[in-house]
């Protein structure tokens, strides 16, 4: 029992981690950052949105609609739990080298 959430595959974890660094990010910004295709990102986001970890909104911007993404409090909590589990795993090899600094997303990004 590692405590790792199987839903948070590396790509989904990257999405949540990226969104934990801002209040809102545009779909295109996340896609550019991850360097993945639209369908891949869309699939990952659907899985996260189904669990209410990421909020997906369409915002009208002039003549165009932009899709914005926001990590929810539930998503931030899931990310924190997953990161804690990963840190526990990584600490097993801590004596071998320098450990990574903690990544604890803060809640309340409204």
């Amino acid at each position: 029992m590692s405590g790792l959430d199987p839903v948070l595959s590396p790509t989904r974890l990257q999405i949540c981690a990226y969104l934990s660094g801002c209040e809102v990010a545009e779909y295109s910004a996340v896609q550019d950052y991850l360097g993945v295709s639209k369908p891949t990102l869309s699939k990952a986001l659907t899985a996260l949105a189904e669990r209410d970890w990421v909020r997906i909104d369409k915002v009208q911007h002039g003549r165009y609609a932009r899709t914005t993404l926001q990590l929810t409090d539930a998503g931030a909590a899931a990310l924190a739990d997953h990161v804690t589990a990963l840190q526990r795993l990584a600490e097993q090899a801590a004596h071998a080298g320098s450990a990574t600094g903690p990544l604890h997303p803060q809640h309340g990004g409204s």
Partner: protein, 144 residues
């Protein structure tokens, strides 16, 4: 998921850490950061200049406030243009600290003397260097 070894876990953690930092401070041009840091540094210096001339000092104070505001806002606007908005947690607090420090400097500069002008000169230089390092996410100033 359960078959992740410690090295793999560390690599995933590093990537997640980097992702968050890249959202907080996306890669931006050195020129933008230089201009921002210079604006902040010159702004701090300007706050306390011409202490003997009432009107001149107030003008310099206003110029200083504008320069600091420009220096603080430019990277945020560039980040917003890249499609990333708002901050959370520690980074939000960093911005609050920036505002409080700027406010304190402005208030202290209201009663500036020629000595204060020299102190602000040094402070301006330090602020420019420090702010540039923060914007460039230099290891010496990144605490996460």
């Amino acid at each position: 998921m359960d078959d992740i070894d410690p090295e793999e876990a560390r690599r995933i953690l590093d990537e997640a850490q980097r992702a968050r930092q890249d959202a907080e401070r996306p890669a931006q041009s050195v020129a933008l950061h230089l201009v921002s840091a210079l604006a902040v540094g010159l702004g701090v210096v300007a706050l306390a200049q011409l202490p003997g001339h009432r009107v001149g000092h107030l003008v310099m104070l206003a110029i200083g406030v504008v320069l600091i505001a420009v220096g603080g806002t430019l990277p945020v606007l560039a980040r917003r243009r890249a499609g990333v908005r708002g901050y959370r947690g520690v980074t939000r607090n960093d911005h609050l600290v920036f505002l409080v420090v700027a406010a304190v400097l402005v208030v202290c500069a209201l009663q500036a003397t020629s000595t204060t002008a020299i102190i602000y000169l040094v402070l301006g230089l330090a602020a420019a260097v420090e702010y540039f390092l923060v914007l460039r996410r230099h290891p010496s100033v990144v605490r996460r």
